[in-house]
Subunit: 214 residues, 2 copies
DNA sequence: TGTACATCAGTGAACGCGCGTTCACTGATGTAC
DNA sequence: TGTACATCAGTGAACGCGCGTTCACTGATGTAC
């Protein structure tokens, strides 16, 4: 059984009552929303506070600084990953495989569509070397990569995937496609690529890479 | 013949002499260097100026703000792309193809290793919707994507690549692998993936996607 | 059911630093004769 | 070859705003009896 989630506390360590939890949540939501409009570089505590019609002082009751709110948002977003992992772990035999690949790609893109701004900042901070964001990202992504790698490894042992393909590297490459395309698939319209074509094409590449079959 | 590059001017429109061009360049270099150490969010005009042992006033003689320096850096970095495009346009027949794929992946990773910080910020700003950065990124990437797409299209017409694969989408997927993996290949050490394995694996995926052959 | 008190949650208002930004000036370099 | 003047390049110093941050306080909610 999972241990009970430790209760939320404010900056001075006091446990939050229901009203306070509501305020905290509104601050989180407002930050996520603001992040879609303004650049990270321009995200201000004052604006977050204003957005929920409260004072900066309230903000500081719940968060140390802007980075911390974003970190919490990143954690929330990353918690959605397990669904994809289960999908990967299913059977890839025959026609099932391609359908599965499609669902995975689609789920990933929807995930990014929902959390664009937050995931973008998570990856930035992670790439910039921030350990906390790196950990959050790893926590979300490594189960996916591991699961893919296991499938690829199996296909490799069965002789369907070439020996030069390193399962983890290939899995990471697939994750890269998923992340990067999800992040800017809107822009691809400029190349005359629709969302469906993107999903279909990525699904084929994913399927092929995981199973070694076409 | 390419038109002569329009001469550099300062913020008030005056043409820069050699000494001024030197200062400008040092400001650019210092910014690139700083960007590797600090988060974009913490990049300050004052620090850039200090880094080249000059005053903020000097900075403003050459650039409107921090964003503009970074934009210029992004343009510079993006100018290196043509080499990769030529590589893509060569022959992918037989053993040449795989060797070519390796060189492309390798060149991309080296490119990113050289310009990590700048390219990261370029992509962030681009994803955040900044039109100037988006244009710079497009200018660098679309020739690559177009070139890959043409090759894939050819393989598709020759019946070696499945009809469900949309050439531009597949090309974009390859670009996604290249960009994303290049951006965080260091981290992949955690999965026990070496740089060589990464290149080799990505090269195979690229080769396979472009030629339809294994 | 009402009153007193304790705790919880939110905030007005201020402080002060850091940073962006500018201006009037100085010093460096180039050029005419 | 030296001097005077023009232009180029750099900067000291200041201004002021915006923002992060805090503190002492008020108001809201809960609880005991």
């Amino acid at each position: 059984m999972a241990p009970p989630r430790s209760p939320l506390v404010d900056q001075s360590g006091r446990v939050l009552g229901p009203r306070a939890r509501g305020t905290r949540l509104r601050l989180l939501d407002a930050t996520a929303e603001l992040l879609e409009k303004v650049k990270v570089r321009d995200l201000r505590v004052v604006d977050i506070a204003r957005a929920v019609e409260t004072s900066p002082a309230t903000f500081y009751q719940y968060f140390k600084d802007v980075e911390e709110v974003v970190l919490r948002l990143a954690e929330q977003a990353s918690d959605e990953m397990p669904a994809v992992v289960e999908e990967i772990e299913g059977s890839w035999r025959d026609a099932q495989g391609l359908a599965r690949a499609r669902r995975i790609v689609d789920a990933f893109i929807r995930h990014w569509d929902r959390h664009q701004a937050v995931l973008r900042v998570r990856n930035l901070a992670s790439d910039e070397g921030d350990r906390r964001f790196r950990a959050v990202r790893r926590k979300a992504l490594s189960p996916v990569i591991e699961a893919l790698a296991r499938q690829i490894e199996a296909a490799r042992e069965a002789g369907r995937v070439r020996g030069e393909i390193h399962p983890h590297a290939a899995a990471a490459a697939m994750a890269a496609i998923l992340e990067r395309l999800a992040a800017y698939h809107q822009e691809l319209g400029a190349f005359g690529v629709t969302r469906d074509q993107l999903v279909e094409t990525s699904a084929h590449i994913l399927h092929r890479t995981v199973t070694g079959r076409d």
